[in-house]
Symmetry: C3
Subunit: 467 residues, 3 copies
């Protein structure tokens, strides 16, 4: 009962801390929306659009959960699912406490200064307002924007769970989840979407990343790569003198279900990023998203048929996701034919990236570094190549402009360095803290589920009590 | 073939009965919407909003199905899934025949008397119009409202399936499903959302329950408790002189998938309850829902870590749901910081409730009484504490008003007494009818799937014919 | 590496081919929507409505994937899932290359000639413009419409996967997927929704099929029937002198999850088919869809209880889907009471159809011919009976008009002949091509998963490495 008492005193302390966030309604906030709807007749349709697409992005969480669970062994499935479920929960706190404010404080230049109340202060390096959604930030427009951006942060966070699966401790991962959404994701994010220094680079239109090939996917992929480096490969993955061991997953139905759910959620991710239904480009974005995701699957499947004579569904699923990641940055700037090309090339970038990771004896348990870091960089580059100048003033090589690709290349370097660098720092800090990073050898051999969570993924069947 | 003949004559009879519902288009109904769109320029966005959020609420059905299936033993999974699938189907008939009319007849004071055609008659105790969606009720506005409220009724109904799982007969459950949506749910619901006597209590703004912590969740939880009492505990659950036996579920992936789906659907449940996208408070409601669901999970997980050293994912999932249930009533009336507090406290209420239920030797197979009845009462109470007066004229203790909490306490007593009382009546009636309530000892030991449904949940693997 | 080289040269060739689709923005296209939103104040809400419902229809893909996977044996599950995942991907290419143009070229009479840019040319027999979404077709309105119709085509395509499961080769199915969306589906579709000759039949209002009982479901069901005839029954299904063998599926949870997802997606399928939220009939359509789906389940379940004393959940799921297919054509033209009748009769049509198919010794592995072909024809007929004249000028027998049912009966004959005929042609062409149609006897006995895909559906458990 000592432990329960300790929990309860910690809990009471936390509640008191939260009460500190209780502030009177700010003078500039509009918490009911009565003023906002009075001045903007399009507010209803735009709020509905952004919220519904945010819900779809939220729904990508079970997509990642099922995909990753299917790709790993049954004995670590509860551990993975716990991470996958808890990262967006821990991340919600990180985002509420600090992340949103660091990322979007002062972002008015992009998202409409007058619109997002309570988040006015910031500079090109960092945002400084919007903490706890309180005071002026207790506002319907700010709340809409906060939620939409929150589910993006949660997507970046959960990418990591698969990469480091089957050996990282749950407590280490909980600490990481909070830190990535409170610090790593928002600071780089501010440089782009917070109207920071990357957004205003003096090449082309400045660095651009419409829905987050870089901000979300490359960040998630590279932080995950950092995690994989710090935690080390799974036992038996790389054995001296043998080719790397592949550990088969435990459920193809979960893999396919997860991929379908992710594809569905992407229709929120990309089209929702206009932040307005009145921006009718949403339909072209949706079509581009669909075409890149489908051609990614086709290219990957035929690659596997060509290589091995087998139709590899896991590769096709990952190829589809690579296509989706690849189109995420350029989705608003390119024509449908370009989406087909971007989607078809993405799985090749993914495969090359994953081969390189394996060559470096880094263990990515689900191939997500190739999908998200590889596909993410490809998406950023693709803007510089395929942007056709119809939207947002962004023009690439296909229409004869060379400035944009320079901005994109700089951004590709920055996102890689930032995510990998801060990722290594955070995971090193956890590793050498009392928390520690890696499960014991004994736990890893038996699987992390019972030692860390007290249950198997399919408990009744193990216990023989199912029938 | 006798049986088939009997089915066909019953079927023909039912079709003839339905034909009685065929009535000419009522004089006041607008079945195409041409008149409605002509007078209300916001009708399109509000219809789209209410319908899409209704679809999301509908999607909570598979959430409950997968969650419950994961939490029980494989041998009763087909039985549970059949109940979970059929309850909304039987409920649809109950709602169409009677439920909607009893609940919303005369509810114009709340939902706009001129808007919901064909549902004008009713009094503070019961509604009396809107049967069969026919006559004047064959109207686009009435249809929108009917569907949105239907999926809420279905949510209340399906909560019960988990609580009484693994021993209640399918036929008993089918009878219950019809009765709860035709009678129990709508009559209490009328008192609140039908502008009935609770809505107009002379304390604070009257009893309030924005999206149904009480109307949906507490009703479902307490009716389920009544069912658990009447059907009795599963064999071996409570053995004299031993501590209660926990039966492990059979699939954590199903539990997590179900919880994620429920969380997703809650974004329809709470924000949709404005019944209009032009009410921009929808964004604050969505943020509050998100924050309460995530902090519920965090509090429950750390509770389990503090108590046992294990990160209990099932408890975290139920904690998340408790947070969501807890915020459902107050979601529109409170600020985000209060949502964090409400969500953090909800799992503690849930755990205490479930401990009490177990102490009373009542067997809730999935812990849903704590989530829905415990969390539901907490949500009703929370309005009286945290409502900040910005919305709907509802003010609680935090802004120095004491009247509201009195209305809430009265409502908490009423919902408990009504749901538990009528639940006991209905299940007793079924128990002592020719249908009967409980499967035989033999069936329960072998599992209900084969005797009641003719198949196992994973049939080919059992039969050894899968490979 | 020769194979990889061959893949890469083919890939390069394909990319070059795609570049041919790169054309300058057409003079009449509006690729950003700035002009469109300027002239149509309702464009935002209508775009949002059509896109979001399209996303829901897309989400029916995992519904079919999980449903079918649950209904077959584990040993062929990877094969089925690969088909189910790849058919919409291959179909996307078929639709982009040709299908959309063949179906909707010249369809202006229905969908607004001025609205869908770049798709103006066509005649009553075939459409001739809108290839590759390029030139004038690079337009926000055209893109919206293209995506909505694309996911419908994908639905028709994937129905086939279940019918021919457990013996058709993956390469044959990939070829089929492309051909059905590029040719079979769009040509018949043009006759109806492309303002073709069926649409303008001189009986009643012309043949009508609001959301595709015929265009989507009957086409999918009959093409699947053709596939089942050409590929032949599974080994051991029909043995001389014995009653037909039923092969049990391997997972009821997958069956129920898939059905729920399909039901959810149907709320996009039917209400979205107004192509506008300003058409408030969407709410009646949603209610009708819901009522038919639920009564279909109830009728099927009570049929099974009457026949066998068991509550057959698989039959209830298929009955629900039959009800949904049945209401798909008439959903906009009938009153709620008629939806109840249509939904209740649909499972009986389904059961009769499936009994007939079995009697003819044709092997439908999942019962989808009854659901989609039987239910689809019933839906077309139901317009002629139940259309009440309130919407679209369509009136059936219930209001004393006899012309409409003649148009419907003609259409029922046409869709059957076209789908079955061209289906037989396409599958015969594949059968006698170097690709071939059927897996070897050896592969079928062992299951198609390992020989065709290199993995089992639950690989780690097979390999014994899960724990």
């Amino acid at each position: 009962m000592d432990r329960a008492k300790r929990f309860l005193s910690g809990f009471a302390l936390a509640v008191v801390a939260v009460l500190a966030a209780a502030a009177p309604v700010g003078a500039k906030g509009d918490p009911t929306g009565a003023a906002t709807i009075g001045t903007d007749p399009n507010a209803a349709v735009n709020f509905a659009w952004v919220l519904i697409t945010a819900f779809l992005v939220f729904f990508m969480q079970p997509g990642f959960a099922l995909l990753g669970a299917g790709l790993i062994r049954a004995k670590n499935t509860v551990n993975y699912l716990t991470k996958s479920f808890m990262d967006f929960c821990m991340g919600a706190l990180g985002w509420w406490v600090a992340g949103f404010a660091l990322m979007f404080g002062g972002a008015g230049a992009i998202v409409g200064a007058s619109a997002v109340q309570g988040a006015g202060d910031g500079n090109p390096l960092i945002g400084l307002s919007g903490f706890f959604l309180t005071g002026d930030a207790y506002d319907v427009t700010t709340a809409t924007f906060w939620l939409f951006q929150m589910v993006f942060a949660a997507t970046a966070a959960t990418i990591v769970a698969g990469i480091v699966a089957e050996r990282m401790k749950i407590n280490a991962y909980l600490a990481y989840s909070f830190l990535v959404t409170a610090l790593i994701y928002p600071i780089y994010g501010h440089w782009m979407w917070g109207a920071g220094w990357l957004w205003t680079l003096p090449f082309g239109a400045g660095a651009r990343d419409f829905a987050g090939s870089g901000v979300v996917h490359a960040v998630g992929g590279f932080v995950g790569l950092a995690g994989a480096i710090m935690v080390g490969p799974r036992l038996g993955r790389f054995v001296e003198g043998k080719s790397p061991t592949k550990f088969p997953g435990h459920s193809i139905p979960l893999v396919v279900a997860g991929t379908f759910i992710l594809f569905f959620g992407w229709f929120g991710f990309n089209p929702g990023s206009t932040l307005a239904a009145t921006d009718l480009r949403i339909s072209v974005i949706a079509v581009n998203t669909f075409l890149a995701g489908t051609t990614g699957a086709v290219a990957a499947l035929y690659w596997s048929l060509a290589r091995t004579g087998k139709a590899d569904i896991v590769l096709a699923c990952n190829g589809s996701l690579a296509g989706l990641v690849g189109i995420t940055a350029p989705c608003a700037y390119v024509a449908p034919w370009a989406a087909v090309v971007i989607g078809a090339i993405a799985p090749l970038v993914m495969i090359a990236t994953n081969n390189l990771v394996e060559l470096l004896k880094i263990d990515d348990a689900v191939g997500a570094v190739g999908v998200h870091a590889g596909g993410g960089l490809w998406g950023l580059l693709a803007i510089g190549i395929f942007a056709d100048g119809t939207y947002g003033g962004v023009s690439g090589l296909v229409v004869g402009e060379t400035g944009q690709i320079i901005a994109q290349l700089i951004n590709m370097g920055v996102v890689t360095a930032w995510s990998l660098g801060t990722g290594l720092l955070v995971f090193a800090a956890i590793k050498y803290s009392p928390i520690g990073l890696r499960a014991s050898r004994q736990e890893e051999l038996s699987g992390l589920d019972v030692p860390e969570h007290g249950t198997d993924a399919y408990p009744a069947e193990v216990a023989g009590t199912a029938r």
